[in-house]
């Protein structure tokens, strides 16, 4: 899908899908391309940094902006969720990125950790059984983590007999079975069915007489921050260690790794267990922050979000997990119904403009033409509609804010827009797909139409239901990422050895 830029004549041609060529070699052409121009200098400095340095730069840049100047509501919505998903992504990274196993039931471990902690930290009564445990966090959290580890071993042991796709299927069932287990089956009332386990204690640590209770949002934020840093360090050390190298080897070619003496089965189980334990840790803190654990918190949508984070960041790269979590969860929250529509608008239009500029980055002339044509087309369509179809322009702008005037002038806003917005949505998809297939000045011809229709669909359909729109966008993001840049932002391009 991405335009292939011809490598310089003296560089070896990039290899894709050839037998026996590894990614470092295949990237050499790309590397020589990369260090030219101003961006090239930045890239060269970045590539020279040791991983610890990269981590040291990225972590504060992403997490520290959520310092006390942010309101509690935003801290909860953005900060805590970004950190939780960063933790989850780091755990999934171990399974998918390091060991190369596709685990589609990962969210079940998240749930187990949350439910175990919730069970051990509150009073619950259901179906005639009353369970009262109020364990302090320094006992409850390790127990939850260990339980998840055991489950991870259990699930990992199925990977002995199952390869690749079959493993994906079994883990998917496991994830589904978990939801059914907590929601419907609920043996002896331990999970309290669809009511979930509520009213659990906040995190309460007591060491040597000194006791600390984390009950405020800020407290949870910093606690999670600490957890993320610790897990980052752990994973960084692991990935540089013997086990990490063994994982990477078994990911690339399990048979060769086995022959080299690496216990591939045991490595797979270890990867599952470690991933599960990290998810369990995230689960406990999530349950404590939410003061409860409910079955709907662990649905497939959460799984897709975690995968989106991992894929966007680049499976295998720790920095990528943090960046991916920040980007995905921040956009997830921005496109939520509780966020101000002005913010959503600003971000959408920015993203659209940046996207179009990037699409035409190679040619000045094309970019300028597109801009001029787009603006003109918008006004033209609006004028024509105002003349011949007055109902087309008298609709209301959904919570416009400071952009209302501009929008009213440029965008068609039909009075009852549902039907036509649906068709426009389909048309927009068709045009977007066509755009990716065409090249050169054909693109310039289609781009203005696509822009105008996208804005129309946004104003009339998407911004009315931002919570659904974001999932549509995440799905499209996954598709586009796989087609254009499967290694994500920070991953390393891999070559399939056939």
């Amino acid at each position: 899908m991405a335009e292939a830029t011809p490598p310089p004549a003296d560089a070896p041609a990039p290899a894709t899908g050839q037998i026996g060529v590894d990614s470092w070699v295949s990237e050499s052409g790309e590397r020589q391309q990369r260090y030219t121009g101003p961006w090239g200098q930045v890239a060269r400095v970045w590539d020279r940094l040791p991983p610890a340095g990269k981590l040291a730069l990225i972590t504060p840049a992403i997490l520290v902006p959520f310092i006390p100047f942010v309101s509690t509501g935003n801290l909860f919505n953005y900060g805590i969720f970004i950190l939780i998903y960063a933790l989850l992504a780091l755990g999934l990274n171990v399974v998918v990125g390091f060991a190369g196993l596709l685990d589609l039931g990962y969210v079940a471990f998240f749930g187990f950790g949350a439910y175990t902690y919730a069970f051990l930290s509150g009073t619950h009564s259901e179906k005639g059984h009353v369970y009262t445990h109020h364990w302090p966090a320094e006992l409850a959290i390790p127990v939850a983590v260990v339980v998840c580890g055991v489950l991870g071993v259990f699930l990992g042991s199925t990977s002995r007999r199952l390869l690749g796709d079959y493993l994906a299927i079994v883990t998917l069932f496991f994830g589904q079975a978990f939801v059914v287990f907590t929601n419907a089956a609920d043996p002896y009332g331990i999970t309290n069915g669809s009511n979930g386990l509520a009213n659990i204690d906040p995190l309460r640590f007591s060491f040597f007489g000194y006791s600390v209770t984390i009950a405020s949002v800020r407290g949870y934020y910093w606690f999670l921050f600490g957890c993320v840093v610790l897990v980052l360090i752990l994973l960084h050390l692991l990935s540089e260690s013997r086990t990490g190298r063994a994982w990477k080897a078994s990911r690339e070619d399990p048979l060769a790794a086995e022959l080299m003496g690496m216990p591939v089965n045991r490595l797979k189980i270890m990867a599952f267990a470690l991933g599960a334990m990290i998810a369990g840790l995230a689960g406990t803190t999530f349950a404590a922050a939410q003061t409860g654990a409910f079955p709907q918190n662990f649905s497939t949508q959460v799984l897709i979000l975690i995968y989106a984070v991992v894929i966007l960041g680049g499976a295998g790269s720790l920095t990528g997990m943090l960046v991916g979590a920040a980007v995905i969860i921040a956009s997830n929250q921005v496109l939520d119904s509780t966020s101000p529509p002005q913010l959503q608008r600003v971000l959408f239009y920015l993203a659209l403009i940046v996207g179009f500029c990037w699409l035409f980055r190679k040619s000045w002339k094309q970019l300028v033409t597109v801009i001029v044509l787009t603006v003109g087309l918008g006004f033209a369509v609006h004028a024509i509609a105002a003349e011949w179809w007055p109902r087309g322009v008298h609709g209301a702008v959904t919570s416009g804010g400071f952009l209302t005037g501009a929008i009213k002038q440029w965008v068609l806003l039909p009075v009852d827009s549902t039907r036509i917005a649906d068709y426009a949505y389909l048309l927009a998809i068709v045009l977007a797909v066509a755009l990716t297939q065409l090249k050169g000045w054909w693109r310039v011809a289609i781009a203005p139409f696509l822009f105008v229709i996208t804005v129309f669909v946004w104003e009339n359909l998407l911004i009315v239901q931002p919570a659904v729109t974001r999932y549509v966008l995440f799905g499209a993001l996954l598709i586009a990422l796989m087609a254009a840049r499967p290694q994500g932002l920070f991953g390393t391009a891999r070559v399939e050895i056939v």
Binding site: M1, T16, G17, V96, G100, L102, T158, R161, L162, L163, G164, D165, Y166, A168, I169, V170, L172, F173, F174, Q176, A177, V180, F181, A184, A185, D186, L255, T300, I304, Y307, I311, A315, D422, Y425, V433, T436, L461, L462, Q465, V468, T469, Y471, V472, F474, G475, A476, L477, L478, I479, L481, M482, A483, P486, R494, V495, E496
Partner: protein
């Protein structure tokens, strides 16, 4: 059959491994089924042969829908070695297309044209629509990833599934739509064994017969036509088939069309039979159809049909003999256990690793 015979066995295959493999699995399955039937009828919570057979018939009806979905999964897997998670959502779109046609032509209570014609148009439209959607998905989401690592098309498939589900939510809304299939066709049916015997509604008969017709058509397509031969060739070895002059891209696109068309038909059948459709049915049915394909042996067409029937029957029995709360869990448990015991399914061939 889009099953890959193991090259290692060649012409000696009839002497060893493979057929004994198959016999074992069928034998085991047969024994398990008979044992279960006896246990359920004589010791189960609700006893009696009538109840058991009623559940079995219900299961077969449900299973034929799953079988159609499983066929799509199997065909695509056989040809591309790709688990197409988006298949369930193609099925969902098919059911919505059928609903759209139904509403356009008057609705279930006052159809504007004769019922037979209406149902026929619904099926054809849904099959065409789903087929085109399937081809489009293949073209834009999977074709660029032909040579990418195996995980890439899987993630892309997840993305497509998510995209389709939420687009449907955006365009159609979250409320359930009702086909009112029984109002359209008939509430009556066949009584086997008198009034207190087994009851099969006419709608159920229609569903089973349509499914059988479609499956027979598919088998004929694969066995007796040139295109079928090309499909089998591409599934066996894509590069060699290309070298033989087969246009692999077109063959793959047509396979997707066929598989998705079947899913679309399944969607309409589901709507007629169970009435309510909404944007999430694709996920659930996809999961079950997927299971059916795997149980039968992914990549194998007869396997998909058998797997579909089995999954339908197991689900029906579980719902009938167990409490609703644990039924789903038990079905998943059985499937996980089955996967562990026989990962390649009933009719699939043992996976060979090329060294």
């Amino acid at each position: 059959m889009i099953a890959t015979p193991s090259p290692r066995l060649g012409r000696l295959g009839s002497l060893g491994g493979e057929h004994r493999h198959r016999l074992g699995s069928f034998g085991g399955l047969g024994i398990a089924l008979v044992a279960w039937a006896l246990y359920a009828v004589y010791f189960g919570p609700t006893q009696g042969w009538t109840f058991f057979f009623q559940l079995t018939v219900n299961g077969i009806i449900l299973g034929s829908i799953y079988a159609l979905i499983a066929l799509g999964y199997s065909m695509v897997y056989g040809i591309l070695k790709l688990l197409n998670f988006a298949h369930g959502d193609v099925y969902m779109i098919g059911s919505f297309i059928g609903f759209g046609i139904l509403t356009l032509l008057g609705g279930a209570l006052s159809p504007a044209i004769p019922v037979v014609l209406l149902v026929l148009i619904m099926f054809v439209a849904a099959m065409l629509g789903s087929g085109v959607l399937g081809v489009a998905i293949e073209r834009f989401a999977y074709r660029p990833l032909r040579n990418a690592p195996r995980i890439a098309p899987l993630i892309s498939a997840l993305g497509v599934a998510f995209f389709l589900e939420n687009s449907a939510l955006l365009l159609f809304g979250a409320q359930y739509r009702n086909y009112d299939g029984y109002d359209l066709i008939s509430y009556n049916g066949i009584h086997i064994g008198g009034v207190t015997g087994i009851f099969v509604s006419y709608l159920g008969v229609i569903v089973i017969s349509t499914a059988v017709v479609l499956m027979v058509a598919l088998v004929c397509l694969v066995r007796f036509t040139r295109f079928g031969k090309a499909m089998r060739a591409v599934s066996f070895d894509r590069e060699a088939a290309a070298m033989m002059g087969i246009d692999t891209d077109r063959v793959i696109a047509k396979t997707f069309f066929a598989g998705s068309a079947l899913a679309g038909a399944a969607g309409v059948m589901f709507g007629l039979l169970f009435s309510q459709i909404y944007y999430l049915i694709g996920f659930l049915a996809g999961l079950k159809g997927f299971t059916a394909a795997v149980v039968g042996g992914i990549g194998s067409i007869p396997g998909a049909m058998l797997g579909g029937l089995l999954v339908g029957m197991v689900e029906s029995w579980a719902q009938g003999y167990l409490n609703g709360n644990v039924a789903d869990l038990v079905v998943f448990g059985i499937l996980i256990a089955f996967m562990l015991v026989r990962p390649t399914g009933l009719l699939g061939s043992p996976a060979l690793q090329k060294v």
